[in-house]
């Protein structure tokens, strides 16, 4: 590196305070009053914030001093535009991924499983990100794609490099290296002014050239680097200093010879090397992370109260614990500066756009349409509620047994119902799904189109993608493209109301990287549990540690590629350095239990372990484990029970007391209201009501119903049942139908013909494969069996199919004898005449599954198939002379038949219903949900289940109904 750098000095410091007193502050003050540029380059904005805060503390106003991070520095010299060749835009990671993914899938196309090369491309396809990171490391380390040890990787990344080049982009690390390695041309524009480079450690090797390029375009340099460890197990930091000496053509001078022994340096030493002392370290342990944060908050308050000047709280990353502490401090009215990332959800438009991409990625599934719906609703693009949309989709799925939206399109369009129409409208907006391959322009155009159709705002920062589109005319695999589009949508949005942002305060929530190189009165190291930090990052399999060492031995550039060992060591050293810059006390905090896995006991991390060890814990009884647990402090739980909670609790408990009848707080209300439900009770509901009143309550008394959210699942049973009923109704429907709904039973042959026709039609709807065959085979067998069975019954000749009970139909309840209006649709009714009055009828129910038998006794005891009893009762109310009800099942002759005479026994349980309607007290008998049965009634999400034993006890108590004794439900 030939050097033309202007006046420069290179200093090595061990302690931030020393650096500030003897270098930084003088440097900052010397510029005073002149209208002149000056830059301070620090590792992260954390240091910038810290330095500014110190300026405030010591009343040092600044004019013309701009604080830069390496990233911002890069922007500056790039903007200068003095590069030899025309400045090319640096390609972003999103586009690189797009390129890489495409290249991979191109390579995979011709290959079959097991072919040579297939394996590697397949693996790479599953993990391009890491490979890309490694590539980035290579570039930053002064290597190129050609240095990948794996031949195929070399090959594909070289191709990627060409691709990038042809599209007219550049790699930012390469740009930086070029600009950083040679001196800037003399006549070139310069940034000029004074520069102070402060606290950049070897960790920032990846950014070195960005800074170097900046430095080369300025006049007057002062560089202050952390002094290397005495016995660095690794010479990284030594080489780092040499690197700067080369750049500046200056040899480094150390000006604070040794670390002072007061302060917390010894605590750091405990971890970094032998010796050291736990003197100024303190450990606080909470039972859970939440408790730990409460302890931290209290400690901070206490420290402030005792005059702490500058407390740094070190988080491994921004996480739940961090946000919790923010809330706790804000609640205590403690002023603090928060330097950690926070994020909120992006605007609705963006979220809709994400959902849209998801929809196309899934190939247009009903489920994804439903995911979109609430958003469309929020945007006022649809008026139908979620429940309606769900119903429509459910129906579509049940009939078509496919998750795809497209096949249902015709049917949706055809429908006249408003809900269906709206779903159709949206479907038309969204469809068709995207083809297998697309050009970027087409993809963008499609996406813009849908955006404008839903009038969504075009997202920010797409110009780069658009620019790319104009350059690249190739076809890309659609999934890859969709991923790329998604990556250009912001995942988060800035937080509108976050305390501690952009403030100066005596408490700073930060991270090791952002805090290192600053002086603190106290540092608090939170979440000091093993497995949380220090984190050990294993290298990917694309560029292993061995590969890295091997490449480093070529000494291409001084620092080359970091191995995971080196990374770990740098982190450790960073912590020690920060300890050395802590004047009074280091406080470690940790938790004993992890919320996610309450069973998993957490251990202290390695640093804390060493502290405990140095305190002699190892030799005491119970050893470290005990010492760690002993450090635990309980948090005084503030939750004093308020009256309101007490009242609430009374209700909660009341609902769960077996010795307490159902009351207004348990599915009961004014009889006037319960006695006249929101709808005529369908027979089906009556059946379920006696086995579990909850259903009656929600469905009929409140008239509300559950909106399912589960993914659609195929159910052969259900599908066959539904179809068979439809098919038989069609086949048995008379030509002419009277207003009572009866007509003459068609000839068996004709009925069979109709059935066969519609069966054939059905087959066409199904995939032409074993799945379709299997389904169709059973469908045919069942429906033909049942049809034949119908003609073996001697009854008729009048018939009515899928006949709804007329409005005047009632059921006489056992008990008060109340005549309750009932509704329902009977599969088939055979009668000796046209109409009800005086007729002899057989009510037939087609059963396609289950082997229940019809018996008055069982029905009367357990209420099973009560529905059929209800039909018979209702038919009776219509004035028939004689009547029976029976079940028809395939491959079975006769499964019991009830006649009017059986009704008193069969309908015994309607007495329950009677009591509910007259007293207004319903209650519930919902069975416990177990691994084997969860067929119980689905309560609202918010309702924590109550043991059925308790419900039965309450029920017996309420209704004095011994039949409701336990075991009813199993």
């Amino acid at each position: 590196m030939p050097d033309t750098s202007p006046s420069a000095q290179l200093l090595l410091v061990r302690q931030a305070d020393a650096a500030w007193e003897s270098v930084v502050r003088p440097w900052l003050e010397s510029g005073r009053g002149r209208l002149q540029r000056a830059h301070v380059i620090v590792p992260t904005r954390g240091q910038a914030h810290g330095l500014k805060q110190r300026c405030l503390e010591e009343r040092v106003p600044l004019l013309g001093v701009e604080f830069l991070t390496p990233g911002l520095a890069r922007k500056k010299w790039l903007a200068l535009g003095d590069q030899p060749e025309a400045p090319r835009p640096a390609i972003g990671r999103e586009l690189l991924l797009l390129g890489l993914r495409t290249l991979i899938s191109r390579r995979l196309e011709p290959l079959a499983v097991g072919d040579g090369g297939w394996g590697l491309w397949k693996s790479l396809q599953s993990d391009p990100e890491h490979a890309l990171d490694d590539f980035d490391d290579l570039l930053k380390g002064g290597f190129t794609a050609a240095d990948f040890p794996l031949e195929p990787l070399r090959d594909i990344f070289l191709e990627l490099t060409d691709w990038v080049d042809q599209l007219g982009y550049a790699f930012s690390p390469v740009q930086a290296r070029v600009a950083g390695l040679q001196p800037a041309p003399d006549n070139a524009r310069r940034i000029g002014g004074r520069v102070l480079i402060l606290g950049l450690g070897a960790e920032l090797w990846g950014e070195f050239f960005n800074v170097a390029a900046f430095v080369r375009r300025c006049d007057d340099l002062t560089v202050v680097l952390p002094a290397p460890e005495f016995r660095g197990r690794d010479a990284l930091d030594e080489r780092w200093v040499e690197l700067w000496e080369k750049l500046l053509g200056q040899s480094a001078e150390t000006f604070d010879e040794s670390l002072p022994d007061d302060g917390c340096a010894p605590v750091g030493a405990l971890w970094l090397r032998d010796g050291g002392s736990p003197e100024n370290a303190r450990l606080l342990v909470g039972a859970t992370r939440a408790d730990e944060m409460a302890l931290v908050a209290e400690t901070i308050a206490d420290l402030l109260a005792h005059g702490a000047t500058n407390i740094g709280v070190m988080f491994p990353r921004s996480d739940a614990a961090h946000l919790r502490l923010v809330r706790l401090l804000a609640a205590r009215g403690i002023a603090f500066a928060d330097l950690l990332e926070t994020a909120g959800p992006p605007p609705v438009d963006v979220q809709v756009q994400r959902a849209l991409l998801g929809f196309y990625e899934g190939g247009g599934r009903l489920e994804d349409l439903l995911k979109l719906w609430p958003w469309l609703r929020a945007l006022g693009l649809v008026t139908q509620p979620m429940s309606a949309a769900r119903d429509v989709c459910q129906r579509c799925f049940d009939d078509g047994q496919t998750h795809q939206l497209t096949p249902h399109l015709e049917r949706l369009r055809a429908s006249t119902r408003v809900e269906w129409k709206e779903v159709a409208r949206i479907a038309d907006l969204l469809l068709p799904v995207w083809p297998e391959e697309l050009k970027v322009t087409d993809a963008l155009q499609k996406f813009d189109a849908i955006n404008s159709r839903l009038d969504l705002e075009a997202p920010q920062g797409w110009s780069a993608l658009q620019a790319f589109a104009t350059k690249s005319d190739d076809l890309y695999p659609t999934p890859v493209l969709l991923a790329a589009l998604a990556s250009f949508l912001p995942e988060t949005a800035p937080v509108t109301s976050a305390p501690g942002r952009g403030q100066f305060a005596r408490v700073t929530l930060t991270s090791r990287r952002r805090a290192v190189g600053l002086a603190w009165s106290h540092t608090i190291w939170v979440e000091s549990n093993s497995g949380i930090w220090p984190e050990r990052r294993d290298p990917s399999c694309w560029l292993t540690d061995t590969d890295r060492e091997q490449l480093n031995s070529q000494h291409r550039l001084p620092l080359g590629l970091f191995t995971s060992e080196q990374r770990a060591w740098l982190e450790k050293q960073g912590c020690a350095a920060l300890a050395a810059d802590t004047r009074e006390q280091i406080i470690f905090t940790a938790a004993i239990h992890d919320e996610e896995e309450p069973e998993l006991a957490l251990a202290p991390n390695v640093w804390v372990e060493r502290v405990l060890w140095a305190q002699g814990a190892a030799t005491r009884p119970g050893g470290l484990e005990a010492a760690f647990l002993d450090a635990r402090l309980a948090v005084s739980t503030p939750a004093v029970q308020s009256d309101s909670t007490a009242d609430w609790l009374a209700v909660w408990n009341g609902r769960r007391q077996p010795d307490r009848p159902f009351d207004d707080y348990f599915l009961s209300a004014d009889p006037a209201l319960v006695g006249n439900p929101t709808k005529t009770l369908p027979a089906r509901l009556i059946e379920s009501a006696v086995s579990d009143p909850a259903e009656l309550w929600f469905d009929a008394v409140l008239g509300v119903s559950r909106v399912a959210w589960e993914p659609f699942l195929r159910s052969r049973q259900k599908a066959i049942g539904q179809r068979v009923h439809g098919l038989l109704a069609l086949a048995l429907r008379p030509d002419a139908i009277s207003n009572d709904g009866f007509g003459l039973l068609p000839e068996q042959a004709q009925a069979r013909r109709v059935l066969d026709q519609s069966l054939a039609a059905q087959r066409a709807l199904w995939p032409d494969d074993a799945y379709g065959d299997s389904f169709h085979g059973e469908l045919c067998a069942v429906s033909r069996d049942l049809l034949a069975a119908v003609y073996t019954l001697e009854a008729g000749p009048w018939v009515a199919t899928e006949l709804r009970l007329p409005p005047k139909a009632t059921l006489t309840l056992v008990g008060s004898g109340l005549a309750l209006p009932v509704a329902g649709r009977m599969d088939l009714v055979l009668s000796d005449r046209d109409g009800w009055a005086g007729a002899t009828v057989r009510v037939i129910d087609f059963k396609t599954g289950g082997d229940s038998k019809l018996s008055a006794k069982t029905m009367g005891r357990s209420g099973s198939s009560l529905q059929l009893g209800v039909y018979l009762g209702a038919v009776q109310s219509l004035g028939v002379d004689a009547g029976t009800v029976l079940m028809l099942k395939p491959m079975a002759d006769g499964s019991g038949e009830l006649s009017l005479a059986d009704l008193p026994v069969a309908l015994a349980l309607t007495a329950r219903l009677d009591r509910m309607l007259t007293t207004g007290v319903c209650g519930a008998l919902t069975p416990d949900r177990s691994k084997y049965s969860n067929f119980g009634y689905d309560w609202p999400l918010a309702c924590a289940p109550i043991a059925s034993a308790i419900l039965h006890a309450k029920f017996a108590l309420t209704h004095g109904d011994d039949e409701a004794g336990e075991g009813d439900d199993d």
Binding site: F504, E595, E710, L941
Partner: protein, 1050 residues
């Protein structure tokens, strides 16, 4: 130290001889965790411990166990270090290099490290739970994307199969097949399909019922069979196998015989179809990027199957310590063995084919055959195979840890006296069926290892709690159990914990082999006013009140039309009476959450509490964590959670959910995302039930494994332990035949189901061992002669044998707790954090000493200066707004950068040249056109003349940190400052690239900019005045869209 343990030598060897292989057979409570830790510590202290440990894997069953071993090992090491007075703790770093984890995570690691050439998914999404919703949805997707054409069977066979069995039955089978089994099945095509057994038909037809009343049924069944055969022969439509009515005169068996040939064929065909489908499903999963646990093992196997890779791995010299070996699935076991062997060793050739075993010091297993209770997934014979190998010195040596540090002397004596028989060959179920008639029956049970007491074990006691026969015998087994627990509860209530030798209720653990037994027990105990802590591996998430409340609340906010969920929230979270809910719903037909006052209290209050959250449900930039805590407040959830469960378990769950929300929020998820996550996990389960000193513990024998309590009470000793009999096609692995599919239980060969039943009993014997070895102090056995009806062989008592009546009855003055309980849980009550008395308002007082930091670019209300904040250090790592009112960030950035280095005073050519370069950059960003337009405007603007005038010294991007007034400092960067010392003038220029709004005139735009950005410009002005006291400061806003600047009155 007292005199050495009887097995001290074994323990020392295992610790010190880390360059040898050992199989350790460790009795219950023999402290194997510590033993493994000791060995690891020894490794760490070895000369090249770092290298050794970097390639050491400690594999065990649960993450928890793994974590514990890791922690214990470090602790042991530190102890050793300080004993040896060493100050250098680097050996501790070595331990950090070792792998501690479950077998699955280790397989994943293997795949990720070595699988790059093998087409292995390197970062899969792992589906942990089979038959979870997630799993079902996945399968649906697969069905949707696959056309169901089969190639493994001919069309004729496929049709023949589908004629009798719905394809779905094959699906269920396919989903549970592992790769090996699937491939095996593919190699066994069935022959042509046979018909039913006519002989059996004959018997059916000749059937004459004993009692008249069963005549109709018999006749119906005869018709059924005949008709079925007719259809089978004459028709070709779908024909399910018929079920006979009733069971009269052995009709069921006859039908089984009738169908036997058909069923056998169908099962074989199903096996092949399932095999093919399983393969396709696996391939599809791969494409889809998801992995099941089985896939992870497959992936690892694939790695090993690749010779060069295998040799590479072996060359790296992995060392494996496998814990809980007896419960390890044979395949997983194989993975661990193979990587520890010499390069070149034949795959799978050890131990059976007597190939070279693992390299010395590279493979250890620790386990206890007596505690093998997971036959479903592990195969005990696989474990014993390896144990035997080590015993005969093949691959290593066998060590026995017979000393238990847990079981009290009384229990040890009792077990050593009774269990040898229970594990012995005299019991039929402990031996297998002889291969040939004459051959000796093979002994298949694990031999019993006598227990020896450690130094500190308690005397303890074993006692029988006599059960009295109730006057009226309960009519159900469950009734009997309830009766037993009732009598137990009476005893406990009468004598307190001390009545069984415990100090507190929490010292007692009641154990049963089945979950539903525990539910009965809980019900009864609670009825008797005893507090219990039922600890289950899995409790349905949706059943936890906290989970339910949050779910419900989010659901109504996500969809306020959802009246159903509303009713749930109102009654449950806000204790509104159902009566009120009903009447209001009738009155209004809905809830007016947006105008709560329409409703009476408490309904109105509830709605009012939620209203603000509903309104902000979709808000941009409102952190989910904040939303969650507001939700918590609105429903007063925390207080309620604590109220319903004082043990804090529910409150803990709430905590978990809140932090889950926080984490999701940081990834940009909003409330909807949270709801989605909750719904997806709702059917899932998590361990629940917290031990507490006031509550009696209830656990299943399986969950109790590895734990201990002072006093253990096994219940239902008399009760038969039933088997779960699934229905439909099932895979059964028979030693001789290997895996095979059977149509149903009935079609399984007699001796196969017999030997399965024996294995089941053997496992229950081992389960009994686990139960009996849990106590540290007392073992209390509720028992009464004839209680629960006649003795059952398959009950714990039956399997135990011996005469329970001989065990001394528990009397209230039976020997009490003698030895010290130091149960190694954190029983020590934590100190309460010292109250920070000094903590008052002055907690935040001193902090005020800091002036307020004013960031000018944020002064503009609603429209912060984005192009500035995105370049100001204070704005770094903060996401930029996804859409800004009317300013395009990337354009703003480009413009400011262009202005920053603008060569104002240079010759026109230079300026042109510079701008050409900038526009080039602009093209890359797709903003070239707008850029050149605005530049043209600038150069032809009035401002241009001033900007380029010679009188100025210029400074672009001028950073300023200076006091604005007493309480605030400005921290900002000014776009451009012009200074003319002679005229003592300072001009501040601020570039604005805001777009013109629809139909906005020049003046309108300019005035808008002034109104929006005045505060920012003023701040600049004021702060500059500080540095140029005697100059006059003017502030100008230049609008690129207009091409003019306008002055801001300071």
């Amino acid at each position: 130290m007292t005199e050495p343990l009887v097995d001290q030598l074994a323990r020392d060897r295992f610790r010190d001889e880390w360059n040898r292989n050992f199989a350790v057979s460790a009795n219950a409570g023999s402290g194997k965790t510590t033993a493994i830790s000791e060995r690891l510590a020894a490794l760490a202290l070895a000369p090249d411990g770092e290298r050794l440990l970097a390639r050491t894997a400690v594999v065990t069953f649960t993450r928890k166990a793994a974590a514990q071993i890791g922690q214990r090992a470090r602790q042991v090491l530190l102890k050793r270090l300080s004993e040896s007075g060493r100050t250098d703790v680097t050996p501790l770093d070595h331990l950090e290099r070792a792998f501690f984890g479950t077998i699955h995570s280790f397989c994943l690691k293997l795949a990720q490290t070595y699988g790059r050439n093998l087409g292995i998914n390197l970062n899969p999404k792992v589906v942990t739970e089979s038959d979870s919703d997630e799993d079902d949805a996945l399968w649906e997707e697969f069905l949707e994307s696959e056309a169901m054409h089969f190639h493994a069977l001919g069309a004729a066979e496929v049709n023949a199969f589908l004629r009798h069995v719905p394809l779905e039955r094959v699906f269920d089978l396919a989903r549970q097949l592992d790769t090996n089994t699937a491939n095996r099945f593919l190699t066994r095509p069935p022959g042509p399909m046979p018909g039913p057994s006519l002989a059996a038909l004959g018997q059916i037809e000749n059937l004459v019922p004993k009692q008249k009343r069963s005549l109709p049924a018999v006749q119906a069944n005869q018709r059924l069979a005949v008709e079925w055969l007719r259809r089978f022969r004459e028709e070709d439509g779908f024909l399910a196998l018929a079920k006979p009515q009733g069971t009269a005169s052995g009709i069921k068996e006859l039908f089984d015989a009738f169908y036997a040939p058909v069923k056998a064929w169908l099962a074989d065909a199903a096996a092949v179809l399932a095999g093919e489908l399983a393969g396709r499903y696996r391939a599809w999963r791969f494409e889809r990027g998801v992995q099941t646990y089985a896939d992870q093992i497959d992936a690892a196997m694939a790695v090993l199957a690749d010779r060069p890779t295998l040799d590479r791995i072996r060359a790296e010299g992995w060392r494996v310590i496998l814990d809980e070996a007896q419960d390890t699935d044979p395949q997983q076991f194989a993975v661990l063995v193979e990587i520890a062997r010499e390069s070149g060793a034949e795959l799978g050739s050890w131990p059976d084919e007597r190939g070279e075993g693992p390299r010395a010091g590279h493979f250890c297993l620790v386990g206890d055959g007596q505690q093998a209770i997971y036959g479903s997934r592990a195969d005990i014979t696989n474990f014993t195979r390896h144990l035997d190998a080590f015993e005969r010195g093949d691959g290593g040596e066998l060590l026995n840890f017979s000393v238990t540090f847990r079981a009290p002397h009384a229990v040890i004596d009792c077990l050593n006296a009774t269990l040898p028989a229970a594990f012995g060959a005299e019991r039929d179920h402990n031996v297998g069926l002889p291969a040939e008639p004459e051959a000796p029956a093979p002994f298949l049970q694990v031999p019993y290892e006598p227990l020896a007491a450690g130094a500190g074990n308690a005397q303890g006691l074993v006692a029988r709690l006599p059960l009295a026969l109730p006057d009226v015998a309960p009519n159900t087994v469950d009734g009997w159990l309830a009766e037993e627990v009732r009598q137990l509860a009476n005893w406990l209530n009468a004598h307190g914990p001390a009545g069984v030798g415990a100090r507190s209720w929490g010292d007692i653990c009641i154990i049963a082999p089945r979950n539903d037994w525990l539910l009965t027990a809980r019900k009864t105990l609670e009825a008797e006013q005893l507090e219990v802590a039922l600890q289950m591996r899995k409790n349905r998430n949706g059943d936890n009140p906290a989970y339910a409340w949050v779910c419900g609340l989010l659901a109504v906010m996500a969809d306020p039309d959802n009246l159903f969920e509303w009713t749930g929230v109102l009654r449950e979270v806000f204790a509104v009476s159902d009566a009120l809910i009903a009447s209001e719903l009738r009155r209004c037909g809905s809830f007016h959450w947006d105008e709560p006052e329409q409703h009476p209290e408490p309904l109105a209050g509830a709605l009012a509490a939620l209203r603000p959250l509903i309104l902000r449900f979709n808000d941009e930039g409102w952190p989910l964590e904040l939303f969650a805590s507001k939700l918590d407040e609105a429903g007063a959830l925390a207080a309620k959670a604590l109220a319903v469960d004082t043990s804090g378990a529910v409150a803990g769950e709430l905590e978990r959910l809140l932090s889950q929300a926080a984490e999701l929020g940081l990834q940009g998820e909003g409330p909807r995302g949270w709801l989605q996550a909750l719904l997806e996990q709702r059917e899932g389960g998590r361990p629940a039930g917290k031990p507490s000193s006031e509550a009696i513990n209830l656990l299943t024998a399986h969950s109790a494994k590895g734990l201990e309590w002072p006093v253990v009470i096994p219940i239902g000793l008399w009760r038969e332990i039933g088997k779960f009999s699934g229905h439909g096609l099932k895979v059964v692995t028979d030693r001789s035949v290997g895996p095979r599919v059977y149509f149903d239980d009935a079609s399984m060969p007699a001796d196969l189901s017999d030997s399965r039943e024996r294995e089941r009993l053997r496992e229950n014997v081992r389960l009994l061992y686990v139960v009996l070895t849990r106590p540290r102090q007392g073992l209390i056995l509720p028992w009464g002669h004839g209680f629960g009806g006649k003795p059952k062989e398959a009950s714990f008592a039956g399997l135990w044998g011996g005469d329970m009546d001989e065990i001394p009855a528990l009397s209230k003055d039976s020997p009490r707790a003698t030895a010290n309980f130091d149960v190694a849980q954190e029983s020590t009550e934590p100190a309460v954090a010292r109250p920070f008395d000094s903590l008052t308002a002055d907690g935040n007082g001193p902090a005020k000493m800091f002036p307020i930091r004013v960031l000018p670019h944020q002064l503009a209300e609603h429209v912060p200066d984005l192009s500035r904040s995105s370049r100001h250090e204070s704005g770094l790592d903060q996401p930029l707004p996804a859409k800004s009112a009317d300013e395009a960030i990337d354009y703003g950035l480009w413009w400011h950068e262009t202005m920053e280095f603008f060569p104002w005073t240079r010759r026109v050519e230079e300026i042109d040249d510079y701008l050409a370069g900038r526009l080039e950059v602009g093209r890359g960003l797709g903003i070239e056109a707008r850029g050149s337009e605005d530049l043209r405007r600038l150069r032809s603007s009035k401002a241009w003349a001033e900007l380029t005038a010679a009188r100025w010294t210029r400074q672009a991007e001028l950073g300023v940190l200076a006091p604005l007034d007493e309480v605030s400092w400005m921290d900002g960067v000014i776009d451009l400052v012009l200074h003319d010392p002679s005229a003592s003038e300072v001009w501040v220029v601020d570039w604005k690239t805001n777009r013109r709004r629809a139909g906005e005139s020049d003046d309108a735009l300019l005035t808008r900019l002034v109104s929006e950005y005045t505060p920012q410009l003023r701040a600049y002005g004021v702060s500059l005045a500080e540095f140029f006291p005697d100059s006059q400061v003017r502030c100008l806003i230049y609008s690129t869209a207009v091409g003019h600047w306008i002055e801001v009155e300071s």
